[in-house]
């Protein structure tokens, strides 16, 4: 039953009282009970809280007081602080942490009536592209290769979110995207995910990875579902200095605009060497679909885009090394007892952080340290300025860009694990937009030779998510993607 509904259709069913929120919530809790032992998408499930919220939603619906999300069971990436519910960022160092406050994004969703099923797995502190860096075990992609049942990664860092939504354990979910952490797992799990413009969603109460890049965004099984959820998550927040005071547009309406007359750019630099032919073909197919619906396709250039990834791997670790200094065993979280303060810090942080987090903290410390700052960090900030300039210039010529989301479909757990740089290359198509702060969406567009989903990425101007939704919806319509993962609720499961 959980996969029969989209967020939109479940909302309609609730409003017409064809189903109660309690029933819908129970069905999702049952899905979690059945599937999560295999998928490990959740770090924490909160059934009692969810059912209490569902009952409150049913009462509100009974009074005719339905908010945009009233009674809809969704799940939250475990970097959003949730008051009274432990929030770990998938790290041992935060394992015991129970926030005494609620993030703005989740507050907005609660204001709109959402039911929270629990907290979703991720790469520790959102650092990774496979959700294999979680201190609480890897999340498994509900999709499998036709010819093998080897466990695949769901992508990352929001892998728990993508797996939960794809398999039917939640109608929709929140994620965060710093260099591709929404778009890449959406692509790997055959669902829709959008990273809005930097500044669109408040970062207040989100465990920080890299502050100048982190953005919250939604996962859904349809473009419309992500439009509904983003409409609730977004909005100016005076508690976040980088949140931009702009009204939240009607994303659902925007998704219905169509693409007639839009200019869609094809950045030639994204034709990375060694791109699999099937991804190249899917990309061409996507452009065709848009052309058929009345868009004009324009060849464009983003000359500095190829430096995006290297720039990212200076800027993000630099910010992270500082953002993660607060995890010191003094005020909350893990503490390894010691006889002096320095030992306490060093032992606590050595025991509390996983390998990738440790690597990035050290990398960030290195690029900011005396003698290296100018050569690495300052240089990266300048290249970042050039990357932004590329996007700004290209968006004077086109309304949106279309690229593949990732250079491959989901890979097996353990692959790419030997070399950090190889793992980082998964984000090659998603990172430039993060560096420029522009919105980007991944839409499932087809299957690879193994039957695994592949996504296409739509990028738009700053604060023009509306066009991104319009283009995403057009691709969705043309692709008619109906693929379902092997590990899922419902028939065939």
């Amino acid at each position: 039953m959980t996969l029969e509904f989209t967020l939109a259709s479940a909302r309609d069913a609730l409003r017409s009282r064809r189903i109660s929120s309690r029933e819908l919530t129970q069905a999702h809790l049952a899905s979690i009970a059945a599937l999560d032992p295999k998928l490990h998408a959740f770090i924490t499930v909160t059934p009692d809280l969810a059912l209490a919220q569902a009952d409150a939603a049913d009462a509100a619906l009974g009074r005719g007081e339905a908010g945009p999300l009233t009674g809809l069971p969704v799940a939250i990436k475990d970097v959003f602080c949730t008051k009274g519910v432990k929030t770990t960022a998938a790290s041992k160092i935060l394992e015991p942490f129970v926030p005494p406050y609620e993030s703005t994004v989740t507050s907005n969703m609660l204001r709109d009536g959402a039911v929270f099923l629990g907290k979703l797995n991720l790469d520790e502190f959102a650092m990774g592209s496979a959700t294999t860096n979680s201190a609480f075990g890897a999340t498994i992609n509900p999709w499998q290769r036709q010819d093998s049942d080897v466990a695949l990664v769901p992508g990352g860092s929001s892998g728990g979110s993508a797996a939960a939504v794809a398999s039917g354990m939640a109608l929709a979910a929140t994620g965060t995207d710093t260099g591709g952490s929404i778009r890449q797992p959406a692509s790997y799990c055959g669902i829709v995910g959008i990273k809005p413009t930097y500044g669109r969603c408040s970062r207040y109460g989100i465990v920080a990875f890299a502050s100048s890049l982190d953005q919250a965004g939604p996962f859904g099984r349809t473009v419309e579902d992500t439009a509904i959820l983003l409409g609730s998550m977004a909005g100016h927040d005076p508690k976040d200095s980088t949140s931009v005071p702009r009204a939240v547009p009607d994303f659902v309406a925007a998704a219905k605009r169509g693409v007639k007359g839009l200019k869609i750019g094809v950045p030639r630099e994204y034709r990375a060497e060694g791109m699999p032919a099937e991804i190249e073909a899917l990309w061409a197919q996507g452009l065709d679909w848009l052309r058929q619906q009345g868009a004009e396709i324009v060849d464009v250039s983003l000359p500095h885009t190829k430096y995006g990834l290297a720039t990212y791997y200076i800027v993000a670790p630099a910010e992270a090394s500082s953002n993660l200094a607060r995890y010191d065993g003094v005020r909350y979280g893990l503490r390894v007892p010691a006889n002096d303060l320095k030992d306490l810090y060093e032992e606590t942080r050595a025991a509390g952080f996983g390998k990738e987090v440790r690597r990035r903290i050290l990398m960030g410390t290195y690029v900011l340290s005396a003698g290296y700052y100018d050569a690495y960090y300052l240089k990266a900030q300048k290249v970042r300025a050039l990357i932004l300039k590329d996007f700004t210039e290209v968006f004077t010529k086109v309304d949106a860009l279309l690229t593949p989301t990732a250079p491959s479909a989901a890979f097996a757990i353990g692959e790419n694990a030997d070399d950090p740089v190889k793992m980082y290359l998964n984000d090659i198509f998603t990172v430039p937009a993060s560096m420029a702060g522009v919105p980007g969406m991944s839409v499932p567009a087809g299957l690879d030779a193994h039957g695994l989903p592949l996504g296409l990425q739509v990028l738009g101007r700053h604060f023009d998510e509306e066009t991104v939704f319009a283009v995403g919806a057009a691709l969705e319509k043309a692709a008619g993607f109906t693929g379902l993962p092997q590990i899922r609720m419902g028939e065939g499961a």
Binding site: P100, T365, A375, K379, K382
Partner: protein
């Protein structure tokens, strides 16, 4: 830039680990030398970008900050502030004695 893709000097690895307050075992140092060395070697591709005359970019989005009113809106929550403390004594957080 400062180095090639060869492993970092172990003294550098130890120094940044000390700055970052992360205890490293000896075998960690060797592994991180290689890993960080290879990442650094890879990011040195930025050498080829001409950035002369380019201003560094630190933030995307709004151009400047909004100023908050000078009103007390927070605090008075000793219990909540200390609720997660791994060690405390009354209303204080505690740490091993610091000798200055």
């Amino acid at each position: 830039m400062a180095s090639s893709s060869s492993p970092l000097d172990p003294a550098v690895v130890r120094r940044i680990a000390r700055l970052a307050r992360i205890r490293l075992a000896d075998e960690d140092v060797a592994q991180l030398q290689t890993e960080l060395g290879s990442i650094i070697g890879w990011i040195e591709q930025l050498d080829e970008v001409d950035v002369s005359g380019v201003d560094p970019l630190a933030n995307i989005g709004a151009a400047s900050m909004t100023l908050r009113d000078d009103v007390v809106t927070d605090g008075d929550q000793v219990d909540a502030v200390l609720a997660n403390a791994p060690a405390r004594s009354g209303p204080f957080f505690t740490v091993p004695k610091v000798v200055e």
